[in-house]
């Protein structure tokens, strides 16, 4: 808790050094998560800057995915899960009892570890979200949203002639890009990615990483990854989690070249994890 508060005090400095807007998009303060008896996340406080990629790294079971899922309240689906503390997006508390999670998830999209397109057509996969939230007033507008989303996800060229085919018929990398297209179709502000490349081969991974870099200009991206090279390649800021606590957070260059905490250094040099 103490170290976290110190870190956040230094966060604006670090953000400035990375050349980012000083105003954070997502602010977490003293977030604790319990799964039944298990204390999975302990007093995490972090600022996530807008229009940048923030990477969460750490060994398995360190709580990075748990924290990610707190940001769009996906943990609500687990009945034993209890979240305390405060998370705000643009200053609005997302755990406010008056808030409907549906509206939250429209603003905070998510891409999962394993590509999970709906077993429907490619078009339907992308159109589902906009239709749900009433973003398109007609067929033409919906077509436009689908095309724009697929273009942004770099899938349009491959998929434009087979929009009527099932999304599950695509390759693994294409499926994951379809999931990204599906997420950005509802125009969220934040996109959460939970190890989006762990089920993909290196070529598909490279494409996704390229895509993440492009998306950074429009979206705030938070990515959980096991690959430190990936974190170094795609992110501007990196947070290191260990045993449920946020150990260190800072500009990616600084974390990988000059970590302040011993545990971070041990982890990135491969001494544990």
């Amino acid at each position: 808790m103490n170290s976290a508060s110190i870190l956040t005090a230094e966060a604006p400095n670090a953000a400035a050094s990375a050349g980012l807007a000083p105003e954070p998009k997502v602010v977490a303060r003293n977030v604790d998560v319990h799964y039944g008896e298990k204390h999975a996340l302990k007093a995490v406080s972090v600022d996530i800057p807008a229009r940048a990629v923030t990477a969460f790294i750490g060994p398995s079971g360190c709580g990075k995915s748990t924290f990610l899922r707190c940001i769009n309240r996906m943990n609500d689906t687990i009945s034993t899960c209890r979240v305390t503390g405060e998370i705000t997006i643009d200053g609005q508390d997302i755990y406010d009892p008056r808030l409907d999670v549906v509206l939250l998830r429209a603003r905070v999209g998510m891409v999962f570890q394993k590509p999970n397109p709906f077993p429907k057509t490619i078009y339907e996969n992308v159109a589902y979200g906009p239709r749900l939230h009433g973003l398109a007033s007609g067929k033409a507008e919906l077509d436009e949203i689908v095309e724009r989303s697929l273009r942004r996800a770099s899938l349009w060229e491959e998929a434009k002639d087979r929009l009527g085919e099932s999304g599950t018929g695509l390759s693994g990398g294409q499926q994951q890009r379809l999931c990204i297209a599906r997420a950005i179709a509802v125009s969220p502000e934040v996109i959460l990615m939970d190890e989006p490349c762990s089920a993909l081969d290196p070529i598909a991974t490279a494409k996704i990483e390229e895509l993440i870099d492009e998306l950074r200009t429009n979206f705030t991206i938070v990515i959980v990854t096991h690959s430190m090279q990936q974190a170094a390649r795609v992110s501007q800021r990196t947070a290191f989690f260990h045993l449920g606590t946020l150990v260190e957070e800072g500009a990616t260059d600084q974390i990988f070249t000059n970590p302040r905490d011993r545990r971070t250094q041990d982890y990135i040099t491969g001494r544990f994890g």
């Binding site: 996906m74 998510m110 709906f118």
Partner: protein, 581 residues
């Protein structure tokens, strides 16, 4: 443990000779165990297969004749005076006319010689009592044929039909040798020929007497063995049998003596001669006497063309008498009988007359009942499954509910019948014997099956699909109804079809709510009295008429066909939609 590790560490890798006797013996032993297990499995499969084949072969061989019926092409005079005496062609008058009588009249015209009242009754008994309805339908559809003669197929009665299907007696026919003099005296006739004219039938009769003597003697021996507890009645019986054995022996011992034929114990011997048929009552080597079944040419006194005919089953052992066989054979000889597919079996309701009974009523009853069942148990079952799987809080109460749903699936079906009787009939006062109540009871019975199958299907949908939907901002309910439920639907349908097939074959609970009644009318609505297919089978299997046994097997075939189709559909659905993600 430690020892083993130590030993292993000390001995190091074990040297194994692949072809040492010990190694070979172990391998052989394993092979034998495998071969034994395979043999047990194969044996079980073959045994099960044999039973299935025997069962199906038995049902098909018994039931197949019921899909066919025999009719005679009968020419009927549609006498206007009898059908419509006032000539107004009033539909009610036409409907009320006695068409059965017209058919009987037509039949009598085919056999003008039948004048005796009792014989007339027998002749009329050849055709079905429902045949008049066919004629009525014909006339009502086209009243202009009144006053004309028309030829229509007339359904035979069950006994006549069975005879023509070859169930009843075997008929043997042989050319007679020599010339016979015919002396007609009213109903009786005497046939006189050369010395050996009737040698063959007489020899057969003597042989039968000999067999009869042996059979009676065997019975007598059994009786003598029981003499220890002899009493007066037993003694009298013994004396009677002794006398009969002596009589049979004596008669069979003398090949030339004349014989009297007893219809109770002897096959019927007949002679076809001069266009008629004579049943012999007395046979001597050179002459025979008998009664006329089919009239001979009135002026015939001599004929050299005659046939000997034998009905091998004694008359008292069959349901059809000699004269009826004679009539049927005569009709067959004139090419008036025809065999056709018994559409009636699918278009008629139940009947006391086997030849008229059909499964239409039971089929409609089953369809209505299953419709009610489906209407109630599919929405309730799927709703309950979705709630329990996705929405119910995980607590003790939910656990208890779950366990009890599984328990319900194992409750004997008759208990559901009792529940239905107490609740739907006695408490709610719903109509007895109605598909509505039957359907409700079966819905209770099938509900656990559908809930369990639906929950399994919902559980089989990967959670990632639901997460994906939640991730783009679908509410919990939207995620389930847009994505999870459609994906679970094939599994749910499979479970539902299997549940429906179960309900289709269910009998016991329906007995409790009165669906076991004899119902002739085809039900039109879910509140009409009705019966269902398995109950119809149960009802028919209880009836004494031989023809109903065939109907029973035929109804079983129809039921099995429906079950096969339903289970096939379930398998097809499962194959078709298996693992789409």
């Amino acid at each position: 443990m430690t020892d083993a590790v130590l030993t292993f560490a000390q001995t190091g890798p074990r040297k194994v000779d692949f072809f040492s006797e010990e190694a070979m013996a172990r391998v052989q032993k394993r092979y034998r165990a495998e071969a034994r297990f395979k043999a047990y499995g194969l044996g079980a499969v073959v045994l099960a297969g044999i039973f299935v084949v025997i069962l199906l072969a038995d049902i098909v061989s018994k039931g197949l004749p019921a899909f066919f019926e025999h009719r005679i092409a009968l020419t009927v005079t549609l006498d206007a005076a009898k059908i419509d005496p006032e000539g107004k062609r009033d539909i009610e008058v036409l409907r009320a006319a006695d068409y059965q009588r017209l058919i009987y009249d037509g039949l009598r015209e085919e056999f003008p010689g039948v004048s005796d009242r009792r014989d007339r009754r027998k002749l009329e008994g050849l055709v079905s009592t429902g045949s008049g309805n066919d004629l009525r339908t014909l006339v009502l559809r086209n009243p202009s044929i009144i006053g004309q003669k028309t030829t229509l197929p007339v359904l035979l009665s069950d006994d006549a039909d069975l005879y023509l299907k070859g169930i009843g007696t075997r008929v043997e026919r042989a050319v007679g040798k020599g010339t016979l003099d015919i002396k007609q005296q009213g109903k009786t006739v005497e046939l006189v020929g050369s010395a050996g004219a009737f040698a063959a039938p007489l020899a057969d009769v003597k042989a039968r007497l000999k067999r009869l003597a042996s059979a009676t003697e065997f019975e007598l021996q059994g009786l003598s063995a029981a003499q220890a507890t002899a009493n007066a009645a037993l003694e009298a019986r013994r004396e009677d049998l002794t006398a009969r054995v002596k009589d049979f022996r004596q008669r069979s011992g003398d090949p030339a003596s004349a014989e009297t034929l007893d219809p109770a114990t002897m096959p019927s011997e007949l002679v076809e001669i001069a266009g008629g048929l004579v049943r012999l009552t007395e046979i001597a080597p050179g002459r025979a006497a008998g009664v006329v079944l089919l009239p001979l040419a009135a002026d015939a006194t001599r004929s050299d063309s005659w046939h000997r005919t034998t009905y091998t089953t004694p008359e008292s052992n069959r349901r059809i008498t000699d004269i009826e066989i004679a009539w049927l054979e005569s009709l067959r000889g004139r090419k008036l009988t025809e065999k056709g597919f018994a559409w009636r079996f699918f278009t008629n309701g139940d009947s006391r007359e086997p030849e008229l009974a059909g499964i239409r009523g039971a089929l409609i009853g089953s369809a209505l009942t299953l419709a009610v069942t489906l209407l109630f148990c599919l929405p309730i079952g799927v709703g309950a499954a979705v709630y329990l799987e996705e929405f119910a809080p995980k607590n003790r109460l939910t656990d208890i509910l779950e366990v009890n749903i599984n328990n319900l699936a194992a409750v004997p079906s008759i208990v559901f019948g009792l529940l239905g009787l107490a609740m739907f009939l006695n408490f709610f006062g719903l109509p007895r014997s109605a598909p509505l109540v039957g359907g409700l009871v079966l819905a209770l019975l099938v509900l656990p099956t559908i809930i369990i199958a639906s929950r399994a299907a919902l559980k089989a949908v990967p959670p990632s699909i639901k997460e994906a939907a939640l991730g783009v901002g679908a509410s919990h309910q939207q995620a389930i109804f847009h994505h999870v439920l459609p994906l679970a639907m094939p599994g749910i349908m499979t479970g539902t079809i299997i549940g429906m097939a179960h309900a289709l074959g269910e009998t016991a609970p329906l007995l409790m709510i009165g669906m076991v009644a004899f119902i002739v009318d085809i039900p039109q609505a879910i509140s009409d009295p009705a019966t269902v297919l398995p109950v119809q089978i149960y009802l028919w299997s209880d009836l004494p008429e031989v023809a109903f046994q065939a109907k029973t097997a035929a109804a079983i075939m129809v039921l099995l066909a429906f079950l096969f189709v339903m289970n096939g559909a379930a398998i097809l659905l499962r194959r078709r939609f298996e693992q789409r993600w």
